[in-house]
């Protein structure tokens, strides 16, 4: 499924050649639209000719509809696309500065390259100025890097922000753009004296086509984690069947006392059970959070192991599937869950709890008080490791390459 691991598929130079081809397409598209000509770009801000608005928003809605349609059909994994992270205030201030540069200089960085490539001298001077400005930024950012790194919201999308399905936002953005085009054409008529009768009729068909595709995307919906699992089960199910991701209590204990890597313990049981007993440094995670890890700000590229624990294994295994579908690396399940953990270290907590019968996925120990992690079995001593005997370590660290933005 797209996007692809280009370096693995094409080799280093093959990957670079593909990026060159994408750049080529970018340059051609900009030049064909007239973006190599500064007067055409600047006319936008005097309402005479809204080429910038039309080209830019047509490009955005075309790409957006195709991306979310492909994702809806299961051809493209949206979670693997680079989505610009949000640094709200630095973004606003940077945008305001750029607006000044736009109206004074008549280009933006991408279009100035095309201007320069087609021998426009103002484009050349703009590129030189741009290089100087970029140089100055690198030399001065240290003066205010606290502000520059402030108001960070991570990978925040519009549909996360409005808490609606992505398809709804896609339709909304298409409608907004079409409204802007309608308004823009009338501004051109008033300020630029343009005869709208001469505009091509195919633009109505194109608008209707895009809107229909957007509606189809919204109607079909984005794949849920369960749908994704259904598709990828062939790859991932063997890891569960061979128990390659279930770690023994003994390995768990050794991980707790291993300081060379980070350890996140995610408890997926009810709050009641969690309060009765949980492992030290375990965090209780709600379903909503587990299904939307990117919203938590957890960095999946960090050197860390995540261990999920339930009372038994069933609930934790479901959660493992969700995390696997979100490409969170190095996720394991506590084999046998908390019940087996308590059984293993029962001697440690003698007097605080009693074994009892109960159905699967319930806590089969009765506690005299809700002590949470304030009991010995919450973090058994390292020396117990010897008495537990040999175990086959299951944890294998995988490193993840971070995707960086085009302007990163």
């Amino acid at each position: 499924m797209a996007p692809f691991q280009l370096q693995a598929a094409l080799g280093y130079w093959g990957m670079m050649a593909l990026y060159f081809m994408l750049g080529l397409g970018f340059g051609v598209a900009l030049e064909l639209s007239g973006f190599g000509k500064s007067t055409k770009l600047a006319a936008q801000f005097y309402f005479k000719e809204l080429t910038v608005l039309k080209v830019m928003f047509t490009a955005i809605i075309t790409a957006m509809v195709l991306i979310f349609l492909a994702s809806s059909l299961g051809l493209l994994d949206y979670s693997k696309l680079y989505v610009n992270t949000t640094y709200l205030w630095p973004g606003i201030v940077g945008g305001l500065i750029m607006g000044v540069g736009f109206i004074v200089g008549g280009f933006c960085p991408g279009t100035s390259l095309v201007g320069m490539a087609t021998f426009k001298l103002d484009g050349l001077f703009f590129v030189l100025g741009g290089l100087f400005g970029i140089f100055m930024f690198g030399e001065t950012v240290s003066l205010y890097d606290t502000f520059w790194n402030s108001s960070f919201f991570g990978r925040l999308t519009l549909f996360d922000f409005f808490a609606v399905p992505a398809g709804i936002v896609v339709v909304g953005v298409v409608l907004m753009a079409l409204g802007m085009f309608w308004g823009g054409e009338h501004l051109e008529r008033i300020f630029g004296g343009r005869d709208l009768q001469k505009e091509p009729k195919w633009r109505y068909a194109a608008a209707a086509g895009l809107l229909l595709l957007a509606l189809a995307t919204a109607f079909n919906g984005q794949p849920t984690l369960e749908k994704k699992w259904h598709r990828l089960a062939a790859q991932k199910q063997p890891l569960l069947d061979s128990r390659a991701v279930y770690i023994e209590p003994a390995e768990m204990l050794s991980l707790i006392h291993d300081d060379t890597r980070g350890l996140l313990l995610w408890d997926v049981r009810s709050e009641r059970d969690f309060n009765l007993f949980h492992m030290r440094s375990a965090v209780r995670m709600e379903e909503e959070t587990l299904r939307n890890i990117h919203r938590t700000g957890i960095d999946p590229t960090a050197n860390q192991v995540i261990v999920i624990m339930g009372n038994d294994e069933k609930a934790a295994t479901e959660v493992w599937k969700w995390l696997a579908m979100q490409d969170i690396p190095n996720v394991y399940i506590l084999g046998g869950g908390i019940n087996r953990w308590l059984e293993t270290f029962a001697a440690e907590a003698r007097g605080l709890m009693v074994k009892k019968e109960g159905p699967a996925e319930t806590l089969r120990y009765a506690f005299r008080a809700a002590l949470g992690a304030r009991q010995p079995a919450a973090e058994p001593d390292q020396h117990l490791l010897k008495s537990l005997g040999e175990f086959t370590p299951k944890v294998k660290m995988t490193k993840v390459v971070k995707r960086q933005g085009g302007c990163g």
């Binding site: 750049g23 680079y82 290089l131 970029i134 690198g138 990163g408």
Partner: protein, 177 residues
């Protein structure tokens, strides 16, 4: 050869909606194949840092922002954005060549001299370059690419660029009209 081509009448630009759909398709292909959008200013940044690293490598290693690109043995040119920027220049040139639009000229409003236009282009470029790094992306990398994947910050950024340019347009109207 370019000159004989350029003497032919330049072909008109594409209709903006058609140009936009082509651009949008390129942007979609970029995301579909590589997972990354399009960009420009990041590449220019790395080119600058490459030369800076040749002259003052110690300074690079002491500045956190530059360190990420060229600290120690890192080669700032070892990034996908570099071939993309080279491709953009080549694509602009080829399209200009085949459409008879390669012409040495300075586009400006009728009321200013070429020299004034060049100074404004340099100044505007410097402001734009500074702002683009401040906002972590230019019109291509933030507004276009981030806009298409519905990044909240990119949309806020996009409207602040337009707001600021419109607010200032009246004051520099002599330069363009």
């Amino acid at each position: 050869m370019a000159n004989t081509r350029a003497k032919k009448p330049a072909r008109p630009y594409l209709h903006p909606y058609l140009g936009g759909m082509i651009l949008g398709t390129v942007l979609f292909l970029s995301f579909f194949l590589s997972g990354n959008g399009l960009g420009a200013s990041g590449g220019l940044n790395r080119i600058i840092v490459f030369f800076e690293d040749l002259i003052v490598p110690g300074h690079i290693d002491r500045t956190p922002y530059l360190l990420e690109m060229a600290g120690g043995n890192l080669n700032p040119l070892d990034a996908w954005i570099i071939p993309m920027v080279l491709g953009t220049i080549a694509g602009g040139f080829l399209s200009g060549f085949f459409n008879g639009r390669l012409k040495v000229e300075t586009n400006k409003g009728p009321n200013i001299s070429n020299r004034t236009r060049w100074i404004m282009a340099f100044a505007g470029g410097a402001i734009m370059g500074y702002g683009a790094r401040f906002a972590r992306g230019c019109t291509s990398g933030q507004a276009l690419s981030g806009g298409a994947v519905l990044s909240a910050g990119s949309w806020v950024f996009m409207f602040s660029v337009f707001a600021s340019a419109y607010a200032l347009a009246w004051f520099v109207r002599k330069a363009w009209n």
